[in-house]
C-alpha cells in the first residue's frame, strides 16, 4: 500500500466513528468498517490499527472480514469506480472484449487503480441488468449495449 506512505492520515474521523460505537462488540465490526470506508474511501492499515486501539476489536479479525466481503477495499480507490459485468448474458454478448478494451484504455488489470487515481477497475459477477448486456457501470451510472468503440467516450465523461 504505497499510498499509506505519503503522509500520515488524519485519525480524527476514525476517532469519532469509534466513539459512536463505544463500547464496541464484534456485532459492530461491519458497521464500523463501512463507516471507516465512507470516511476514508478505503480501509487504510494505519486507520484499522487505530480502530483496534480504540475499540479493542482485533486487527486480524477486521482484516478477515474486510477480505471476505467484496464491498471493502484495502487500497486507495480511484475517484471513479468502473464495474464491468462478466455475468453469463454479458459474456455471450462479448463482455470479455469490453473488459479487454477497458484494460487497454486504462492500462490496468481488474482490481487495480490507474496511476493518476482517476479510475479503479473492477469486474463483477452480475449487475442485474442482463437485458442491457454487455453492461458497464461507472459510479452509479449504467451503460448498456456497450461496444469496444464506445468505451473511450464513456470514460471521457469522468475527469
Amino acid at each position: 500500500m504505497p499510498s499509506d506512505k505519503d503522509a500520515p492520515l488524519d485519525t480524527a474521523a476514525a476517532t469519532e466513528i469509534c466513539e459512536a460505537f463505544k463500547p464496541a462488540t464484534s456485532d459492530d465490526l461491519i458497521p464500523i468498517l463501512q463507516k471507516i470506508q465512507d470516511a476514508y474511501g478505503y480501509l487504510p492499515a494505519e486507520i484499522i490499527a487505530e480502530v483496534s486501539r480504540r475499540t479493542g476489536l482485533q486487527v486480524s479479525q477486521m482484516y478477515g472480514v474486510a477480505t471476505f466481503y467484496e464491498q471493502f477495499h484495502l487500497e486507495r480507490q480511484g475517484r471513479y469506480t468502473i464495474k464491468c459485468c462478466r455475468g453469463t448474458a454479458c459474456h455471450v454478448k462479448g463482455g470479455r472484449d469490453i473488459i479487454n478494451a477497458i484494460k487497454r484504455e486504462l492500462k490496468v488489470e481488474p482490481g487495480e487503480t490507474t496511476g493518476d487515481m482517476r479510475f479503479t477497475f473492477e469486474t463483477v459477477a452480475c449487475l442485474g441488468t442482463c437485458f442491457l448486456a454487455p453492461v458497464v457501470m461507472v459510479e452509479n451510472d449504467y451503460y448498456g449495449h456497450v461496444t469496444t468503440k464506445s468505451i473511450k467516450s464513456i470514460l471521457s465523461r469522468y475527469t
Binding site: I48, Q58, S60, Q61, M62, Y63, G64
Partner: protein
C-alpha cells in the same frame, strides 16, 4: 459435578454434565473422527467429520458442539455417517496435497489416519489445486512454515491464537476456494502481533504448520519422544523432545494436550529454544588454563587439579575461604550434591545460588509471615480466582504459560484483574485497574491499600482472630498511610488505590501474583511482608484460588532453594543454627558440620575483594553477566585465587576460570526439577551428552571423593532417595511416584498425595504473622546528573544471560539484540529517535545500546532487558542489598541517557 447417563453405540455410559458428546465418547474410549476439535478450544463444528446420529433428531449433529443430556441415544458409526465422512475427506483431499511420503507430519497426521480408516481411493490424492508452495506470512520466518497446500482450513490455528494465546495474530483471508490463513494485512509473521508461541503448530491436525528447523529432519512416525521438563522458566511445562534415531538430535519440542501443568501449551522458548542442546559451541572436554590459555586435559587430571588446589586453600586459609555457587538450572539431585559437597567435604556454609538475585526476599518474607517461602497455590487455581492482583510481574513475558491462566480467568471466567506495574505491560490490556507506581514504592502503595481496607471495615475479622497474630501492629503502622499520602509517594491516584483495595478485599477469592518487581529491591523483604499482610487481612490465603504467589524465575529455582543451596539452611529449609537439625545432618553425612551461616552471592564477591574468599566453585552459574555492578563482579572473578566452572558453554564467567568442567545439559541426564507451584517433576535423558561432558553431580562426587570425602551414587534416583530421607517436605518423593505426573510438596510420607495449596486450616509456622512495614525509599534516587530511573528485567524471547536462547536462530531473528525502552516525550527531550544508538550510564558504568521509543515506560523512567552480553545492563545496576535477604536492587537505579549516533558516525 453431576453426572449424565446416555447411550453411545449401544453402550450405556456415564459422563460429566457440561461435556459434549464428543468429549464423553472420547473419555469412554469411543473414537469419533474429528479434525477441528482441540480440547483447549471452544467447539466450532466446522470440519463436519464428527457428525453423529441422535435418536429422535432428523439431521445429523456435530458431536463436538452437542452437549450431553440424560437419555440421549447416539450412534457414531452408521453406514450413512461413514458415507458422509468419506465424502468430506474426499473434498478435503481435493484441495490438500496428499504427499504423505514426503511430509514431516507423516505418522502423526489425523487426515492421513482417517484417509486410511475410511478407505479413500488413490484417485482422491490428486494434485492439489495449488501444487507449488507460494509465498505467505511465514515466508522467510525461521521459526515456522505454513504450507497452504496441506492446510484443510479447519481454523484451529486461528482459534488457538485468539482463544488461548490471545495474540490475535492470525485470521482467515478471502473467501471460498481462495481462503488461506494469514496475518492482518499479510505482514510477515514477525511483524504481526505473533509472540512465536507455536500453539498454532501444536494444534494443526496436518503438516500444514511445522517448525522450520524440523523440516526434513525426520518424519513424525520415526521420531522418538521423551517426556521431560522445560529448562527455561519456573512454570515447569512438560515437553516431549522428539529425537531422530538416525542423527540422535532433537528435531522438535512438542507437548501433549492434557498434560499437567501446561495442557500442551508452550511459549517461544520451550518450543523454539532447544537448539543449544546439540550446539557446536558446547564444551566437550575438561579445560585447564595455563599461561592464560585453555588447554584440553583428561578428566583424571582435571579432577586431581581441582581437588589438590581446593585442599591446599582449605589447609592454608580454612574452609570458609572457599565458596560454592549452585545453580537453579541444575536438577534437585545436583543441587543437593553440591551443597552437601560444600558443607560436608569443604566444611563451610558458603553456598548460594542465583535465587539470591530473584526470590531471596520472597523466601525470607514469606517464611517470616507464613512459615513457608513458596507459591501458596497451584498454577491452574488462578483460572478460578475472582480477583487477581498482579504486582511486579510481567507475566506474559516472564511466565507466559501462567499468563494464559490469568488471561483465561479474565476473558472467560470474568475475574477482575488489577495490575500494579511501572510499565504498560501486556496484562494491562486485560486489567480493570492499572496502578503505575514509581519503582521502589510498593510498600507505600500496599500500606495505603491496607489503610483503606481497615478504615472501610473490609478485613476478614474471623480469619484475623483465628489464624493470625500481630494484627494490631499493622493497624497502628498504617493508620496514617492514607491513599492521598501514597499518591504523593507512588504517583498512583488515591482513588485508584481505594478502588484496588476494595476490589481485592471484596472478592470471594483473591490471588496475589508477584515476581521480580517486588523482590529485587533493597526493600524486597518488606515488599513481600506487605503482600502477606494484605492477604491475611482479607483472609485470602490458605484456600483454593486465593493466596500469595511468587512466580519463580528459573526452571529449578524452587528446587535449588528446597534442596538447601542457601547459606543458612539445609535441604527442606531446616536451619543450620538449630543444633538438633545439625546433629541430624552430621549423622546422615557422617562428618562434623559448620554452624556459622555462610555468605550470599554478592557477599562472596565482596569477600573476594577483601581476600577472605580465595576459591570459588561454580556449577552452571554466570555471574559475569547476571550479577549487579558487573565491573566489580568481573574484577573479583579475575582476582580470585582459584575459580572452577562447571558449565555447558564457555560462558562469560567460565572464561575467567582456572578449570572448566564440561557438563551434560537437561536433555542429556536424569533428574528432577521443582516448578514454581512446588511440583517435583522428572527430567529425562533424550540424547547423549557431547564429547566427554558428564552430569554435574557425578563431577562433584568425583571431586569430593578426590578431596577425601567419598560420595558415590548409582544414579540420580538414589540421590532422590537420600534427599527424601533427610528432607521432611520431600519425604514421600521417589521416581516411581512421579513417573507420569509430578507431586507437589509438602509430601512428607510415601502415600501422601502432595499438597495443592498451602496453609489450609493452619499456617506452616502455626499462626500467620502480620508485620508492621514502614516505607523506605530505594537506595538510589534520581539526581541532577542521573535524572532517570532505570529498571532491568526480562523479555519474552530471551532467557537470562542468553547462553541458551541466543543460540536459537528462530529466536535470534525475532530478538537480535538488546535495547533500552524510553518514553517518547523523554526521547524528544534528549533528541533520541527510535533505533538510535544511545549511551546509558549510572555512577557504576555505562553501556551503549539501541533506543526503543514508545509509551511502554512513563516519563522519567527507562527499562533494559539484561540478557545481552553486547550491552550488559548489569554494568549499570546497583549492588546495594536488602538487609535481610541480601538481594540486590536490580529494579531501581539512577541513570542518564544520551544519543551517541553522531559520535559513532564521527
Amino acid at each position: 459435578m453431576s453426572q449424565v447417563r446416555l447411550t453411545i453405540d449401544d453402550r450405556e455410559i456415564v459422563a460429566e454434565r457440561g461435556q459434549t458428546v464428543l468429549e464423553a465418547a472420547l473419555a469412554n474410549g469411543i473414537d469419533i473422527p474429528n479434525l477441528c476439535y482441540d480440547p483447549r478450544l471452544s467447539p466450532s463444528g466446522s470440519c463436519r467429520l464428527c457428525l453423529v446420529e441422535v435418536e429422535g433428531q432428523a439431521p445429523l449433529q456435530t458431536s463436538c458442539a452437542l452437549e450431553i443430556r440424560d437419555g440421549l441415544v447416539v450412534k457414531t458409526d452408521t453406514e450413512e455417517i461413514r458415507q458422509i465422512r468419506q465424502t468430506i475427506l474426499e473434498l478435503l483431499f481435493a484441495e490438500h496435497k496428499g504427499h504423505c511420503t514426503t511430509c514431516d507430519e507423516n505418522g502423526q497426521c489425523k487426515l492421513q489416519e482417517y484417509a486410511y480408516e475410511y478407505g479413500l481411493g488413490e484417485d482422491a490424492f490428486a494434485e492439489a489445486t495449488r501444487a507449488k508452495p507460494i509465498d505467505n506470512y511465514t515466508t522467510g520466518n525461521l521459526a515456522m512454515e505454513y504450507d497452504p497446500g496441506k492446510c484443510i482450513r479447519c481454523g484451529r490455528c486461528v482459534r488457538i491464537c485468539d482463544e488461548v494465546q490471545m495474540a490475535h495474530a492470525l485470521t482467515f483471508r478471502d473467501r471460498a476456494a481462495e481462503v488461506e490463513v494469514s496475518t492482518a494485512f499479510d505482514v510477515p509473521l514477525n511483524e504481526s502481533t505473533c509472540v512465536l508461541c507455536g500453539q498454532c503448530i501444536s494444534t494443526c491436525p496436518t503438516g500444514a504448520l511445522y517448525e522450520r528447523s524440523a523440516k526434513g529432519q525426520g518424519q513424525a512416525k520415526d521420531l522418538v519422544r521423551t517426556r521431560t521438563t522445560c529448562p527455561y522458566c519456573g512454570v515447569g511445562c512438560q515437553i516431549d523432545l522428539n529425537v531422530s534415531p538416525k542423527t540422535g538430535r532433537i528435531v522438535r519440542a512438542t507437548s501433549e494436550v492434557g498434560c499437567i501443568p501446561n495442557d500442551g501449551n508452550l511459549c517461544v522458548k520451550g518450543r523454539f529454544g532447544m537448539e543449544f542442546v546439540g550446539h557446536p559451541d558446547r564444551l566437550t572436554s575438561p579445560l585447564i588454563k595455563r599461561n592464560g590459555k585453555f588447554e584440553k586435559v583428561t578428566w583424571q587430571e582435571a579432577i586431581r587439579t581441582v581437588a589438590e588446589r581446593l585442599n591446599k586453600i582449605k589447609a592454608e586459609s580454612g574452609p570458609d575461604s572457599i565458596a560454592g555457587l549452585s545453580s537453579a538450572k541444575c536438577t534437585n539431585e545436583e543441587n543437593y550434591i553440591l551443597q552437601k559437597f560444600i558443607r560436608a567435604a569443604i566444611g563451610t556454609n558458603n553456598v548460594d545460588h542465583c535465587a539470591r538475585l530473584c526470590h531471596a526476599s520472597t523466601v525470607a518474607g514469606l517464611a517470616r509471615a507464613f512459615g513457608s517461602g513458596a507459591m501458596t497455590n497451584s498454577n491452574e487455581e488462578l483460572k478460578d480466582a475472582r480477583c487477581i492482583f498482579v504486582i511486579g510481574s510481567n507475566t506474559t513475558e516472564a511466565h507466559p504459560v501462567i499468563a494464559l491462566a490469568i488471561k483465561e480467568a479474565v476473558v472467560k471466567n470474568a475475574a477482575t484483574l488489577i495490575v500494579a506495574d511501572p510499565r504498560d505491560i501486556e496484562l494491562v490490556r486485560y486489567a480493570k485497574l492499572h496502578l503505575q507506581q514509581r519503582p521502589g514504592t510498593d510498600v507505600a502503595l500496599i500500606n495505603a491499600m491496607l489503610h483503606v481496607i481497615i478504615s472501610e471495615s473490609l478485613p476478614d475479622k474471623d480469619f484475623i482472630r483465628e489464624r493470625t497474630e500481630g494484627f494490631e501492629l499493622v493497624v497502628e503502622a498504617v493508620k496514617d498511610s492514607t491513599p492521598e499520602k501514597a499518591e504523593k509517594i507512588t504517583g498512583v491516584p488515591a482513588e485508584a488505590i481505594r478502588e484496588a483495595a476494595r476490589t481485592y478485599a471484596q472478592a470471594e477469592t483473591a490471588s496475589i501474583v508477584f515476581s521480580m518487581g517486588i523482590t529485587q529491591h533493597t526493600t524486597g523483604t518488606d515488599n513481600v511482608l506487605s503482600l502477606a499482610n494484605l492477604a491475611m487481612l482479607t483472609g485470602n490465603v490458605g484456600k483454593e484460588s486465593a493466596g500469595v504467589n511468587p512466580l519463580r524465575g528459573q526452571n529449578n529455582v524452587q528446587g535449588a532453594c528446597d534442596l538447601g543451596a542457601l547459606p543458612n539452611v539445609y535441604p527442606g529449609y531446616q536451619k543450620i543454627e538449630d543444633a538438633a537439625i545439625r546433629a541430624k545432618f552430621e549423622k546422615a553425612w557422617g562428618t562434623k558440620l559448620a554452624d556459622k551461616t555462610g555468605l550470599t552471592i554478592v557477599e562472596m564477591i565482596h569477600a573476594v575483594e577483601q581476600g577472605a574468599v580465595k576459591a570459588l566453585y561454580l556449577m552452571g552459574e554466570n555471574p559475569a553477566l547476571s550479577d549487579p555492578n558487573l565491573n566489580r563482579t568481573r574484577k573479583a572473578l579475575e582476582d580470585v585465587e582459584f575459580l572452577v566452572s562447571q558449565d555447558i558453554f564457555l560462558s562469560e564467567t567460565a572464561q575467567y576460570a582456572d578449570v572448566v568442567l564440561p557438563t551434560a545439559c537437561f536433555a542429556e541426564k536424569e533428574g528432577t526439577f521443582t516448578n514454581t507451584e512446588r511440583r517435583v517433576q522428572r527430567v529425562r535423558k533424550a540424547v547423549e551428552p557431547p564429547g566427554e561432558a558428564r552430569d554435574d553431580w557425578q563431577i562433584v562426587c568425583d571431586v569430593s571423593t578426590a578431596m577425601g570425602y567419598p560420595m558415590q551414587y548409582d544414579g540420580a534416583d538414589k540421590i532422590m532417595d537420600e534427599i527424601a530421607s533427610v528432607t521432611p517436605i520431600y519425604g514421600g518423593m521417589s521416581y516411581d511416584r512421579i513417573e507420569s505426573v509430578g507431586l507437589q510438596w509438602p509430601c512428607p510420607y510415601k502415600d501422601h498425595p502432595g499438597t495443592k495449596f498451602l496453609h489450609k486450616g493452619k499456617f506452616t509456622r502455626g499462626k500467620g504473622k502480620f508485620h508492621a512495614v514502614p516505607f523506605r525509599e530505594p537506595a538510589e534516587t534520581p539526581s541532577k546528573k542521573y535524572p532517570l530511573i532505570l529498571s532491568t528485567g526480562r523479555q519474552l524471547y530471551q532467557y537470562h544471560t542468553g547462553t541458551l536462547t541466543r543460540r536459537s536462530r528462530a529466536i535470534d531473528q525475532k530478538s537480535p539484540t538488546g535495547y533500552v525502552e524510553i518514553n517518547r516525550r523523554d526521547a524528544e527531550k534528549y533528541a533520541i529517535e527510535n533505533g538510535d544508538s544511545v549511551e546509558v550510564s549510572t555512577v557504576r558504568g555505562k553501556v551503549v545500546t539501541q533506543a526503543v521509543v514508545g509509551d511502554r515506560v512513563p516519563q522519567g523512567r527507562i527499562f533494559m532487558p539484561f540478557h545481552f552480553a553486547e550491552g550488559p545492563a548489569n554494568i549499570l545496576t546497583n549492588d546495594a542489598l536488602d538487609p535481610i535477604a541480601k538481594i540486590p536492587e536490580l529494579k531501581v537505579c539512577a541513570a542518564a541517557i544520551k544519543n551517541v549516533k553522531s559520535e559513532l558516525v564521527g
